[in-house]
């Protein structure tokens, strides 16, 4: 085979390598643009955790409404020994219980040391029981697994009742 043909083929190989790279990048499409797309859709949504779900993790949270609502920002104790206390919610999980290292230390004889955990996911807060003795109640039902808490739902731990407010 002539030298020219071989040289052309060599360049063809380099070209093919870059074609492969470009087609991979083209095929990826918006797969890698996790945050950008989230920004354009919800410019004021300050919940960064919602971005990857929207893009890739399929079907984790069922949204009842089309538009993501703002996440509740306050936790209010409406009954019990600490009635009236308000806690500002950020974007980090909150531990509820009697132990001193909890975020919200409940002065309640019927609550366990580390009783329950409230954690943000997307535009929702989730409540999870941490194996407490007397259980955590959401509305009229006892928690068996992590579930969403809507503003106004009554979270009952021992004698304390907490509510989320926006």
């Amino acid at each position: 085979m002539s030298e020219l043909a071989i040289t052309v083929l060599q360049f063809g190989l380099l070209l093919l390598l870059w074609i492969l790279i470009l087609s991979i990048i083209a095929a990826q499409g918006r797969d890698m643009m996790v945050s950008k797309r989230a920004r354009t859709r919800a410019p004021r949504n300050d919940a960064p955790a919602s971005a990857p779900e929207a893009e890739s993790t399929p079907a984790t949270v069922h949204h009842s409404g089309k538009t993501p609502r703002p996440r509740p920002r306050r936790l209010v104790i409406s009954e019990g020994p600490l009635v009236g206390t308000e806690i500002e919610l950020g974007s980090i999980p909150i531990m509820l219980g009697r132990a001193q290292e909890c975020t919200v230390v409940l002065d309640d004889d019927y609550s366990s040391g580390k009783h329950a955990r409230l954690f943000p996911q997307g535009s929702r807060w989730f409540l999870e029981d941490l194996g407490s003795t007397n259980g955590t109640w959401l509305g009229d039902e006892q928690l068996t697994r992590a579930s969403t808490v809507e503003p106004g739902d009554r979270i009952r731990i021992g004698k304390t009742v907490l509510e989320l407010r926006t």
Binding site: F11, L16, P58, Q121, S147
Partner: protein, 489 residues
């Protein structure tokens, strides 16, 4: 269960993979044929059989993915097949020189073994979360694998590094497999103990430093790395194991102080190694003064590094063309220094394309970690991505004199069965993680949620069908917090 409102069900995208796989195979086999054409070898039956084996293996892997992990990442397999094919072609090209003979056949055989093993792992494991049970067994296996080469009668000393095990004429580097087992251990350990490490700490300026007792595991990892370094004279693996641990713990806790402490440990380790390990001091001297005639001429001197630099320079922008350069001048041109051979014969355009392929592969590994819902899977994917990227960094950095050179091999390219096997097994695990990440989950209605339309909610991080009973303890409960700051805007 309905999917996201704004997005339809995720597509498996296996056809995209098939298309990219065809380009990948064309590149690999085409490169090999080009070598033959340029070196005036007759393109006979042998070329087509070898090409056929590669096509068959790649398609078998593809079909296994179609059957067992339909939603796995579609880009990983084509990239890996490209790199592996190019590696075989370059090893084949070096077989024409009088230094090497028959290495390409052995590499093809190992490729076959590795791919079959990876397919078997894919089919048998089914869910990466099952690996979590083996966290502590993995640690034991890692230590065993790392210290196997120093067992008298079993180990073998090659090129000053004692990393080989020889059984009945077959040599193997067990340390390569230890990458996987250590990544599993670190991921499992940190998935369980993350909160303990995260909660306590003292704040100094902008950094929060961990408590002294939480430093224990880091110290242990450092000791293992140093042990590997001193006992086996293996600089590259020592750096990789420690880097792996620091990276995974940083991702688990998102505290920059761990990186600061890690760098400090590496600095201390480097000083100790420089003082007491001849091998390491030699590497430092080569790194700092490669063009010193004395160092250039001595045994184990800088000859290899300098010739490698010349080779890269000789390649220029487009390279000499496959078969037209003289990469055999560099010692170990088909394993440790194969990057130089590519730089010379494919030039800057070719070598940068390969580095971009590594970059995309790394980003796909990280994507699998971002997408998956369980904590262990996230950390495992990140750890395995770090294994890949650290190998590439240590190899390319060593060759280009960014860091001292150490004996790691470029993943999928270099001749060497053990590394190939380990890297293919990593591919299988990451594909399983990405399958778990992209697969739609079907969730039944919730029993205990009040409020309108609040049905069908699932703990998004723990997922379903974890295949293990998780006792809800205090640390477990809070371990479900998202570790990676995904898409932080």
């Amino acid at each position: 269960m309905k999917s996201q409102d704004h997005e339809a069900h995720p597509k498996p995208r296996r056809n995209v993979e098939l298309l990219l796989l065809l380009i990948a195979l064309t590149i690999g086999i085409g490169a090999q044929v080009l070598v033959g054409l340029n070196l005036e070898d007759t393109i006979d039956q042998r070329y087509w059989t070898e090409g056929g084996v590669q096509v068959g293996l790649a398609l078998a892997f593809h079909i296994a993915l179609r059957l067992r992990a339909k939603y796995a990442d579609p880009f990983i397999l084509p990239i890996v097949v490209t790199l592996n094919g190019l590696g075989i072609a370059m090893i084949h090209r070096l077989d024409f020189t009088n230094q090497y003979d028959g290495v390409a056949d052995r590499q093809l055989m190992w490729t076959a073994v590795s791919m079959v093993a990876a397919i078997a792992l894919l089919v048998l494991l089914r869910d990466h979360r099952r690996l979590r049970q083996f966290s502590y067994i993995s640690l034991a296996v890692s230590v065993l694998l790392l210290f196997l080469p120093i067992v008298p009668g079993l180990g073998q000393d090659i090129q000053g590094a004692q990393v080989w095990v020889s059984i009945g004429g077959m040599s193997f580097q067990p340390g390569e497999l230890a990458k996987i087992t250590l990544a599993i251990f670190f991921a499992g350990f940190l998935a369980n103990n993350r909160d303990l490490i995260l909660l306590a700490g003292r704040k100094v300026g902008p950094l929060t430093f961990p408590r002294l007792q939480d430093l224990g595991p880091l110290f242990l990892a450092w000791l293992i790395a140093l042990g590997v370094l001193i006992v086996q004279n293996d600089l590259g693996n020592a750096l990789m194991f420690f880097g792996l641990f620091v990276a995974v713990i940083y991702v688990a806790t998102s505290r920059i102080s761990w990186v600061a402490i890690g760098v400090a440990f590496v600095a201390v380790g480097a000083v100790l190694a420089y003082q007491f390990v001849w091998h390491a001091r030699n590497r430092f001297d080569i790194w700092l003064n490669p063009f010193d005639p004395e160092i250039y001429d001595q045994a184990f001197g800088s000859h290899q590094l300098v010739q490698g630099l010349f080779g890269l320079a000789h390649g220029g922008l487009t390279g000499t063309g496959l078969g037209s350069g003289s990469p055999q001048v560099v010692a170990l041109a088909n394993s440790d220094m194969i990057i130089v051979a590519f730089g010379e014969e494919l030039g800057f355009l070719g070598l940068s394309a390969m580095l971009v392929l590594y970059l995309i592969l790394f980003s796909r590994y990280m994507r699998a970690g971002l997408g998956t819902r369980d904590h262990f899977g996230k950390l495992l994917a990140v750890g395995l991505a770090m294994v890949l990227v650290l190998q590439v960094f240590v190899v390319v950095g060593g060759i280009t004199r960014v860091i001292p050179m150490s004996g790691l091999v470029s993943p999928f390219l270099a001749a060497g069965g053990s590394a190939l096997l380990a890297n293919w097994l990593i591919v299988a695990i990451v594909l399983l993680i990405s399958h778990a990440a992209r697969r739609p989950i079907v969730v039944g209605p919730m029993l205990n949620t009040t409020g309108k339309g609040a049905s069908g909610t699932e703990d998004p991080l723990r997922g379903r069908n974890t295949g293990e009973q998780q006792p809800v303890s205090e640390s477990q409960g809070s371990a479900t917090a998202p570790a990676l700051k995904e898409g932080d805007s």
